[in-house]
Amino acid sequence: MPTPDPPDEARSGLLDRHIAFLEALRAAGLPVSLAEDLDAVAVLTALPWDDRAVVREGYAAAVVKRHAQRPTFDALFDLYFPPLVGNGADRLGADEAGPEDSEGGDADAAAGGPQDGDVPGARDNAEALRDFRERLEAAMTAGDEQQLARLAAEAVGRFGAMPGRGPGLSSWSAYTALQRVAPGEIVDRLVQGLLAEGRGDEEARRAAAQRVGGFTRRVEADARRRIGEEKGAEHVARTALRPSIDRLDFLQMRRTDLEQMRREIYPLARRLATRLTQEHHAQRRGPLDFRRTVRASVSTGGVPLTTHHKPKRPHRSELVVLCDVSGSVANFAQFTLLLVFALREQFTKVRAFTFIDHVHEVTHHFKPGADVVDVMADLAASASHAALWGRTNYGRAIEKFAEQHADAIGPRTSLLVLGDARSNYSDLALTTLAELAGQCRHAWWLNPEHRRHWDTGDSAASRYADVVPMVECRNLTQLSELVHDLL
């Protein structure tokens, strides 16, 4: 190395933090290039530093180029550039012009290590809890954002501390804090308060739920921040962050994720359809029309200057979807069905069947222009038709399908089987499936489980994979890629 490293005190630590932050973003799946890295530095030099929100937006403009990645960015930003350090209560309470200090404090957060947890007065007892909940209720009724942020930090510090045996072993738990504070119980009184302000009943209820949800998120973020301070932001970034919605596993979704996902389906289908039409346009040139080309070449003395092509016949395939709707894979099946039906125009005909141990046709639920919410409800209701005995049985379902709906399969059909291939050790009906697959143009099996879980327990993945090509399909990104390849 030509020049030695500058002495430590000359380094502000900001650059190191910036690079660590970008590394974490990359690890979380954001493709941050070197050019964007340099942009981010340019952004930081061009911006005033007295407002944390401005710095955050500037950073985001330089490195986040896809809206779906924004939640990941925000969570990591809070982790690497925390709004406050340690317990923070004194500082936030003492001077309201906090942001400047806390920005400057970023480097300290990295260098200074864990602050002592036992702040005077931060003791958990019944009286403190009652007092805290009163203040929380007041802040929520007033909708005071700053006070709520302060209270979230206090809740974690006071009620969520999990003292460890040695230095660096103590930790914080958002779960414990929320259990103790139980903001859900405040909802009713909050609604009363809002009603007194003259709001409508339903509106008050929604507003109350929103505020409580917001507080919960703050507490979770604050616990992450504190753990990050103790164990290093890298540790938390690796372990405690959920992936963005399009990379989230179907099998690991929570209820809120499901709703968000449902909103994603139509835009996703639209994007896919646009992309497909454009690609079809791009390859619109059909095979060479030899006769026309030769005839046209007469006028240029036999040199085929311009080639003529036969028009391309649009080919559209029929699609038959056969999906397992048993509890474990129901989410995956529903999303795939929704996506397939949103792309209906790309196929001549789509038919869908659900099964657990018995087959049931659900095509009629997907009326053109039907409402997503209704369709999902209908599908859930019809799942009961698909079960006679209640345990997933792939063998019986396939036999039944071949028996009752053999007309669905033809030489122009693509068959799509959705399921985890976990058949409770029953007969697999491999020969029947092979026959079905032989009668159609393509057959695919989408498995929502990670490849490393295939063939564990009662999974018959590789035995089915021998008959029908099986692909791993765990999240929206993989799903959309698959549907695109299928067409």
């Binding site: 403009a61 986040v64 809206h67 222009g369 409402d371």
Partner: protein, 291 residues
């Protein structure tokens, strides 16, 4: 020239032209000017993406050059074209005279015969310019290749004439509805801003500033209703433009209280799918029979 001196300056000056910003928009707009980098704006239809470019032009006194993208847009429509007819005339005119072919040849590829299209126009202008490349996602992927040279180096290469470099860098705004994923190369060259529906307070201000004569109480009701509609799972959520339309409708119909009947009667202004309207009626428990 510097476009804006700080994020708050951007917010103030855009606000003065009637475009109300939030922190993210103001910051990113300021940065696009300060770093002289193109700004890519994505977001649902009708949240004011194109409007932002126009507002920047108004606020800074720059001229707006607009390239509307569409499927099938090509080099000749985006960059430049040679004026073949005029070139042909020039060649024919030179036949009688004793000019050699070489001279004529050099003659016909000059500025005189060049038809500049939006991209080249924006690059060559010496006055402050806002270049708006609208709905970039509508174009074919190849056009993105054309844009790259303009976006990173602010220059255009014309084989017969050489490279034209910007005398004065334009403020470039690209908008996209995200119907197609843009290439990484384009995104890398741009700052990125995702415009969402504004929060209730800001939307109220926008509606009130756009529709004079609207009472505050009705505006509040209207914005709350639009916010609730956006929370439903609709095919097409109402945009800001539609909120403004709704406000205008209420003024025209002289409705001073947005109760269920009024909403019912005018729902078509904001929701443009039958299934969306049905969903709204069902979820909001509006009384359809009263219609």
């Amino acid at each position: 020239m510097t476009w804006f001196s700080s994020p708050s300056d951007a917010a103030d000056r855009l606000g003065a032209t009637g475009y109300l910003t939030d922190a993210a928009t103001a910051t990113t707009t300021y940065l696009a000017g300060a770093l002289e980098k193109p700004l890519l704006i994505e977001g649902p239809a009708g949240v004011g993406k194109t409007e932002l470019a126009k507002a920047v032009a108004r606020a800074t006194g720059a001229d707006l050059v607009r390239l509307q993208c569409y499927e099938g847009l090509d080099e000749a429509r985006a960059l430049y074209e040679w004026n073949y007819k005029k070139q042909l005339l020039r060649i024919q005119a030179s036949q009688g005279s004793d000019a050699t072919w070489d001279e004529t040849h050099d003659d016909i590829f000059t500025d005189e015969f060049l038809l500049t299209r939006p991209l080249l126009t924006a690059i060559r202008r010496e006055e402050p310019t806002v270049l708006l490349i609208d709905e970039v996602d509508k174009t074919d992927v190849e056009v993105e290749g054309l844009l790259l040279e303009v976006l990173s180096d602010f220059q255009v290469t014309i084989p017969e004439m050489g490279t034209v470099t910007a005398v004065r860098r334009p403020f470039v705004v690209l908008t996209s509805n995200a119907t197609r994923e843009l290439s990484e190369a384009v995104k890398r060259r741009c700052l990125y801003l995702h415009l969402e529906y504004p929060d209730a307070e800001r939307e109220r201000e926008i509606v009130v500033s756009q529709v004079p004569g609207l009472e505050e109480a009705v505006a509040t009701q209207l914005v709350a209703m639009v916010a609730r509609l956006r929370e439903l799972e609709l095919k097409k959520a109402p945009s800001i433009a539609e909120s403004v339309d709704w406000a205008r409708t209420l003024i025209a119909l002289e409705i001073s209280d947005l109760d269920d009947d009024a909403v019912n009667a005018t729902l078509g202004v904001v929701l443009k799918h039958v299934s969306d309207q049905e969903r709204a009626v069902k979820e909001l428990r509006l009384d359809r029979a009263g219609r």
